[in-house]
Structures are given as C-alpha cells and as structure tokens.
Symmetry: C2
Subunit: 378 residues, 2 copies
C-alpha cells in the first residue's frame, strides 16, 4: 500500500459478479489483491500459471505476484512483452502463445494477464486460442483496464486496418483489480482511464455522473471513494455484458466515445506520445455529445457539463487538442468506416439525448457526420 | 458431375443436422453443391463472401463457386494460400485475416472455406477471430474434410510444438460437401480421408464397419453408397459434437488413432511426401487396436480385421510403412506428451474392447505405452 493510502480511510474490497450462467465470474476490487493472486488462482483448480505481463508492470508488480503464486504451490512461468499498444500485433501474439506452449500450460491451467489494457487484450486473446481455449485470470493494473477492458471478455489485437479488428470473446474466470497498483501509474494514464469511468455515468447513470462531478478527485486518490467509483463502473459494465455478451445490441452502448476515439487513434497511428486510448475516448465522448447537440437531440447544457467535468480532471475534449493535430475530416471519416460496428456500410454511433441518456443510433446520415467532422476540425 | 458419375445410379443429396441449439446447422452431402453455393449463402443473409481456398482447389473449383456467388448477387473476394499443411501457420493466418479485412468482410457476412482440411481449419480460424467472429460456411472438397474436419467447429493452426495447438471452436453456419469434388482428388488423398470414415465404424458402429468391409470401394466411386458412407460419418460426428461440443468428455472418442497419428506426423515434421494426416490416422488406429490387444482389452481377431480392411483399400497400418522410417520410441513418446489431450501430465488414449467398442482411457501407464512403442518400431 502506498504512503498516501496509509493515511486514507481503511479500504474494503468490493465484489461484482458478472452473471453469465455457466461462465459467471467475480470481479474483486480492493487493496492488496496481487499479493493474494496465488491462493485465488489455486482455488480455481489450476496447477500451472502462465503469467503474461509487460516490462513496466513486471518491474513494479511481478515479484509480488510470483511470490504469491509460489506460496500457493503453483508452478509458473512468465512471458514479458514490451509495454505499449504495438504489442497488440500478430507477431507478439505468436510469441506469447509459443511461450505459453513452452511452459506446457494445459487446458486446466490458467493464463494470468498482469498489466493494463494492452496486456489484458493480448494475454486474454492468447488464452482464447491456446489449445482452443484455456482459462484466463485478469489482474488489471491500470484504471482503464480495471473499469473496462478486463471485464466482459473482449480480447484481441490490432490490424494495420484498425484497432481490435482481430480477436475473440473469451470471458475471464476471475478479475483481480488491485487498487494499490493505481498509485504506481503515471498521472496521464490514470486520467485517461478515468474517461471510461465517466462514460458509465454518461451512458445511463446520471446520478453517478453527478457523484463524480462532486468528487473530481475520487478516482485519483486512495480510499473507499475510488473503490466505489471502480466498482460502480464494473457493475455497470457487468450488467450490459450479461444482457448482451456478444454485442448484438445493447452492448454497443459501451462504445460511447469510441467510434470517434478509435478514428482519432488510427489517425495518429496509435502513437501514444500524442494520444492514448482514454484520451481518445474523452475527446470522442465530448464529440458524441456535440454531435448529438448538432442533430437537435441533446440540450447544449449537457454537452457543456460533459466538457467541463472532463476538463476539470485534465482530459482533452477536442480533436484540436491532440499534439500535432489530426488529418482531414475525410480521413477521419474513412477510419470510422472500417470500424467493427459498421453494418452493411451504415455507420453506427452512440448518441445522447442528455447525460445518462445515451442510445445506439444506426443509419446516421453520413453527410451529417462528415459535416460535423469538418466543423470540429475547422 | 464426372464422367464416371454419369454412368452410376442417380445420386440424391443427404442432409445431416448438427443439433447445437442456437448454433445448429446443416451438412448437405451430394452432387453439384458447389454450383449452388451462392444461393445457399445468400439465404443466410450475407452480402459479401470472403472465399479462402488453396492453389490446387482454386484451379479446379473456384470458377464454379465464383459464378454461383455472382449469380446470387453476392459480392466476393478470394484469398488463395499455397496447398499443404505448412499453410496452417501464424504467418498465413495473418495474411488471410488481412485479406478478409481488406475485402471489408463485416460481422453479417460469411467466410467460405473452399478446400480440404488445411483450408477449412485455417479459414475457419480466421473467421473465428475476424472482428471477434464472423460466420463461416465450409465447402470441403476432400473426403477427409467432408467426413471430419469441416464438421464440429474445431479450427486452428499448427505450432512448432505440435499440430492444432492454436485455434478456436467456431461452428460453421452451413457445410456443403459436394461429392463431385472427390473425383478430382489424387487417389492417395482419397484413401487417406477414408481412414476417418473407417474410424466411425471402429468407435461405436460395428454394423457400419461391416457395411464398409463388404463394400471396400464404396467411398472411392461415385454413387449413392459414397453419399451414404459420408452421411453416416457426418451423422456419427454430429452426434458426438452435439453431446460434447468442447471436448470435455465423449468427444475425445473422435481422436481414435490420433494420439499415435499426430505423434507420427510430428515425427516426420508434417512432411506430406512421407505421411499425410489420414495415413497417420490409419496407422494410429491400427496401433490403438494393437495396443489394446497388448493390454489384454481387445480380441486379437478384431485388431486383425481392422488391419485387413485398411490394407484392402491401400492404407498403411504400421509406423514402419512410413518412407524413411520414424525416430525412436522415446521421441514419439515425447511428441505424445505435448498433445492437447494431455491433462496434468497424464496421457489419454482412445482404446478399444473390440470393433465398435472404443473408449477414453485416462491414466494409461506411461511405461506400458513406451514399451508398446518400442515393440512397434523394433
């Protein structure tokens, strides 16, 4: 536990269940969970654990996890990949799978994804395709991964043609969200992850958004408020996933801010120095609200409140905030058309009638979207 | 229809349903099915088809299929890979997925696997991971693929550490087994595929085995007997798959002959000039019966009948029949231990108490298996 945490109120772990019948699993959110990973994984009946992590996370947390695995009597080996989005590639996937095969991870064993969203997506996908599927435990160490990517079973890698275009639905068997790990994050990453927390308020929980507005530091400092913010986010995501595991309907709501956000990330060629995922989502959500206003769907005051709260925590809200700028509206529009959510060439947007009143809009007029992009970049 | 077929009795298509609830699908077995692929795929609601095939099959059947797709008003593009097992690699998978993304295959569209087992496994896996899963129609053109690999949803690629160690369960939406395609197969491939037909008799259908014994040419010549042999095989496989989709129990019976067979294939480094999959299965089944005899489980007459029938159609029954020979018993044993079916280091074999009386044997004494291998190679 960090020094700051030791002065805060005592922290109590929360538990969120993802109700998926035979594939139901728990998300645990609290302090000290990495140190208990071994006993919890042993309780799943695994004998050997293939740990997948990145260089940064390995430096900070691998020793804790390996000690815990050894103490629980588990065999383990570790595959470490470079930190950052470029690791979500076919080449790296093939290395990870080969490492897990070399470690003789069998069908009854477990892959432990120890890291942020990149490691979770890559290791989860590797687990999905190793021997046609072995179990995965997610130990997300970034805020983004704790509230979003580690929950719900989406795994995958990127293609030169777009983000996450290759992957699998593979639900984890357990998620261990150790909030202590958040104290080791660079502030920019913590902020970026917070965009996904805000998202859950914007989708369908205006009271949560108001709660966050009143506590703009909640997610940024140790304490029960942070655990509550993460647990509320996970609960929101779990409810959507339980309703629509494979994104044939409602689950698309979770993409609020992502259609624009992914296009922006593609535009900067996933250069994390210029834009990281959560920043793209922050800009994308602000854009989705402004686009909703321009279509006459959403009161301008709500879009302004969204911008104000994001800016209060230091998140960007305009594509013009991206260092070096972005390409033309036409280029962004082209990226959006390669989105997975494109159906028969029609664009799907998540739009909003107000804060907490988001909805899936199919058949948005492409000309209106293009005109909006032109105004945003003008 | 081939010239031979035109002199045979009229052929009538059979239909086998794979009962998997929401993922149930039909296997159609009969003549002229490739020419009707377009209308059948259009009936699934697809707009665009990503055809995956290999160079040999493209030469023989692609024009027929593309004509049919065009006539049904479907858009399509084709990705062609080299023929042969080496195409089941990460590198080739990444090319195929990229080709399908370039063709803008969307979630509502269809990947059409046109070819033998290699193409079916590779294209099926590509469909499983493209945008986290698009539908796949299997159009198997080899006997092996028609009776085995196109049915049941196992897809995947090979690792240097073993065959099919990387993959997914991804059920097809439809299987079109055009028996006319069998007339274009090299005799060696047709024979190899026949090993899997025999397998269904050996697993649990002694009457089917006797029917085949009485008609050793059934699968090798056009006519209703061939369609019946294929449909009986598909029905047997469909029943097992419906009971145990993800191979947690019974489905392992389908691996009769495969534990030994895969080890032999690994031993020759998947060199098709020396051993192709069905030949490995033929040898493996004969070995499984001899091993069962040596364990006192199976009457020697039954093992002899198995050998006799396989030899009657020109299939090998001993590892010593492999050109160039194989490695030592220890090396083969090592390959067997990397098998996906290994659970906690224990070997699982499919053994037999007689023809049509196969069973899953866990905890086979490794020393007995090793001693058996030594006798086989002596």
């Amino acid at each position: 536990m960090s020094l700051a945490a030791s002065f805060a109120e005592p922290q109590v772990a929360e538990r969120v269940e993802v109700g998926l019948g035979a594939r139901a699993y728990d998300i645990l959110i609290g302090p000290g969970l990495l140190a208990s990973a071994g006993e919890r994984i042993a309780a799943l009946g695994a004998r050997t654990v293939g740990v997948v992590t990145d260089e940064n996370v390995a430096r900070l947390h691998l020793a804790t996890v390996e000690r815990s695995l050894a103490a629980a009597g588990l065999g383990f080996s570790t595959v470490t990949v470079p930190a950052g989005e470029p690791s979500k590639s076919f080449g790296r996937l093939s290395e990870v799978v080969d490492g897990l095969l070399a470690a003789r991870i069998e069908r009854g064993d477990v892959v432990l994804a120890l890291g942020g969203g990149v490691v979770g997506d890559l290791a989860g996908f590797a687990a999905a395709i190793l021997r046609r599927g072995v179990r995965c435990v997610q130990a997300p160490t970034s805020l983004l991964a704790q509230v979003d990517s580690s929950v719900g079973g989406k795994t995958g890698i990127n293609s030169v043609r777009g983000k996450n275009l290759i992957g699998a639905f593979h639900q984890p068997s357990l998620v261990l969200a150790d909030v202590d790990a958040l104290d080791t994050l660079p502030p920019r990453e913590l902020r970026a992850g917070y965009a996904e927390v805000v998202k859950y308020g914007l989708i369908d929980d205006p009271a949560f958004f108001a709660w966050l507005e009143a506590r703009p530091r909640a997610a940024f400092e140790p304490g029960q408020d942070r655990i509550r913010a993460i647990a509320t986010s996970c609960r929101a995501k779990a409810a959507v996933v339980a309703r629509d595991e494979h994104e044939t309907g409602d689950r698309a709501l979770l993409n609020l801010g992502h259609t624009f956000g992914h296009a922006l990330e593609a535009d900067v060629a996933y250069d994390g120095a210029r834009l990281i995922h959560g920043e793209g989502v922050a800009i994308g959500m602000a854009m989705a609200f402004r686009f909703s206003v321009s279509l006459g769907l959403c009161p301008p005051e709500d879009a302004a409140r969204v911008e104000r709260h994001l800016e209060a925590v230091g998140l960007p809200t305009s594509p013009k905030a991206i260092p070096g700028g972005v390409g033309s509206a036409d280029v962004l529009f082209g990226h959006m058309q390669q989105d997975k959510k494109v159906s028969r060439g029609r664009l799907t947007f998540i739009l909003a009638r107000g804060i907490g009143r988001s909805f899936v809009a199919k058949d948005v007029d492409p000309a209106a979207a293009l005109a909006f992009l032109k105004r945003e970049l003008a």
